[in-house]
């Protein structure tokens, strides 16, 4: 287990311009303007907030997990991580993190990947990618399944071993832990608050997350 570094934010929830509790299984798609700070709070602990970001002006320019890990030459996200787009733009910078490590390799659960991972009869169960799909189709403006790419799993712990193994470990998060980012350009955030009931990533108990936005002063 690597060293986890915790960084707190000076921002107070009472000053937020946006404050929403997103239940597990729900989606959220929302614009965050350049300079605003965006916080996701893991209210009860070990919840996964599956998250994507897009350049608000052109969705073809979108969060790119491979570029993000390549440019920081490290696979975990934490304070200081620069979330990069497919065209090399800086979308967000993580400025505070009381969890210490977030995953961007594991992707989002899907009805079909649940069939592969657990059982062919799981297709009907709710999943992050079904949530993502409904959100982008509702967003309109030409957005479609092709806009759903490889996401960040805030509060999830997916270690890679030197031998190339991949595991899903108990979370390093806990109730009240949060991650906060500064928008470096106008972005659209897409979140699925993970409804997964087939694996212990959330102790089989999906819980709400809180989403807060501050105008930087």
């Amino acid at each position: 287990m690597s060293t986890l570094v915790y960084t707190e934010s000076p921002f107070d929830a009472k000053d937020a311009v946006y404050d929403l509790v997103l239940p597990a299984g729900d989606g959220w798609m929302h614009e965050i303007r350049k300079g605003q700070h965006f916080r996701i709070v893991d209210i009860d602990g070990n919840q996964a907030a599956d998250t994507l970001f897009y350049n608000a002006n052109d969705f073809r320019d979108r969060y790119c997990a491979q570029r993000t890990i390549r440019e920081q030459a490290a696979i975990y996200l934490t304070t200081g991580s620069r979330l990069m787009s497919s065209r090399g733009s800086l979308l967000m910078t993580i400025v505070a993190d009381t969890c210490g490590r977030h995953d961007t390799l594991g992707g989002a659960c899907a009805a079909e990947s649940n069939q592969v991972r657990y059982s062919l009869d799981k297709r009907w169960m709710h999943s992050c990618r079904d949530t993502f799909l409904l959100q982008v189709l509702r967003w309109g403006r030409g957005a479609s399944k092709a806009d759903i790419t490889h996401n960040i799993n805030f509060f999830m712990n997916v270690p890679v071993t030197p031998e190339g193994g991949l595991s899903f470990e108990d979370g390093v998060s806990a109730g009240g832990r949060y991650v906060e980012m500064r928008a470096e350009m106008d972005v659209v955030a897409l979140i699925s608050n993970c409804p997964q009931l087939n694996n212990p990533c959330n102790a089989y108990n999906p819980t709400p997350v809180r989403l807060l936005i501050w105008n930087h002063v």
């Binding site: 390799l105 079909e112 069939q115 991949l166």
Partner: protein, 240 residues
């Protein structure tokens, strides 16, 4: 391998770009001629390209962050797309992604076609986009890719390091199509290759008319997850 009919063979220079539809059950053999090659690879369902290689799904289903013989490349619809049926290299990188024009210029400088002709510096992102465009696809279709013949190691802190010498001269890998797929690839250097020189290596490509995966096929039987991905690929053809 010598008894398997070869449908087509082709030499692809370093920095090159290529795409091809593979009918279900055809295999693509890629040979690293000189050693040290890198092949950036993307895979799409030929009939429905929004169904495409999904590396996170592929890795988590098989509990691996490297790919080799026995592993299956899976689509976001849970289908087995390509099975790695033979591998003389042992480690293919699913983490590093692809470089772009800016990265190539930062690392190697600028060499354009006007001054250098076919010795110009090409980059993986533009090569992917060109080949995608030929099939009516575009920037939104370019997602996380695999880098054949390359290896990154991850230390306990999560730091990525490129491992030189991962692939020896003559090493080959064979990928068998489990549904009809579009394969898009290029031979640009790995984006984390620390070499100061622009020196992408050539590969040999061969299409082989291989038999379908047997009930006891290694890739099918590697794990229950793989069996279920094969079942979803077979279901896709059940009513076709």
């Amino acid at each position: 391998m010598s008894n398997i009919p070869i449908l087509h063979e082709e030499h692809l220079p370093g920095g090159g770009l290529w795409s091809c539809i593979l009918r279900r059950r055809v295999s693509l053999r890629i040979t690293d001629i000189e050693g040290g090659a890198n092949v950036g690879l993307m895979v799409y369902n030929a009939h429905c390209p929004s169904d495409r290689l999904n590396l996170p799904d592929t890795l988590k289903a098989q509990y691996t962050a490297r790919l080799t013989r026995g592993h299956v490349l899976m689509s976001d619809m849970g289908r087995a797309m390509l099975s790695i049926t033979a591998d003389e290299c042992g480690w293919h990188d699913p983490l590093g992604g692809h470089g772009d024009a800016r990265l190539v210029e930062q690392k190697y400088g600028k060499r354009n076609y006007q001054t250098a002709g076919n010795q110009w510096f090409r980059n993986a992102r533009d090569n992917f986009l060109i080949e995608l465009g030929k099939h009516g696809l575009g920037e939104k279709d370019l997602v996380a890719n695999l880098n054949l013949f390359s290896r990154l190691s991850v230390d306990p802190e999560g730091r990525l390091v490129f491992c030189p010498g991962n692939s020896q001269p003559g090493a080959s890998v064979e990928l068998r199509a489990e549904i009809h797929v579009l394969v898009v690839l290029n031979t640009c250097q790995h984006p984390l290759d620390p070499s100061q020189e622009y020196d992408p290596k050539p590969v040999k490509l061969a299409l082989l008319d291989t038999p379908p995966a047997a009930p006891d096929d290694l890739c099918r039987k590697l794990r229950g997850e793989n069996e279920r991905a094969f079942a979803l690929s077979e279901l896709y053809f059940a009513g076709a």
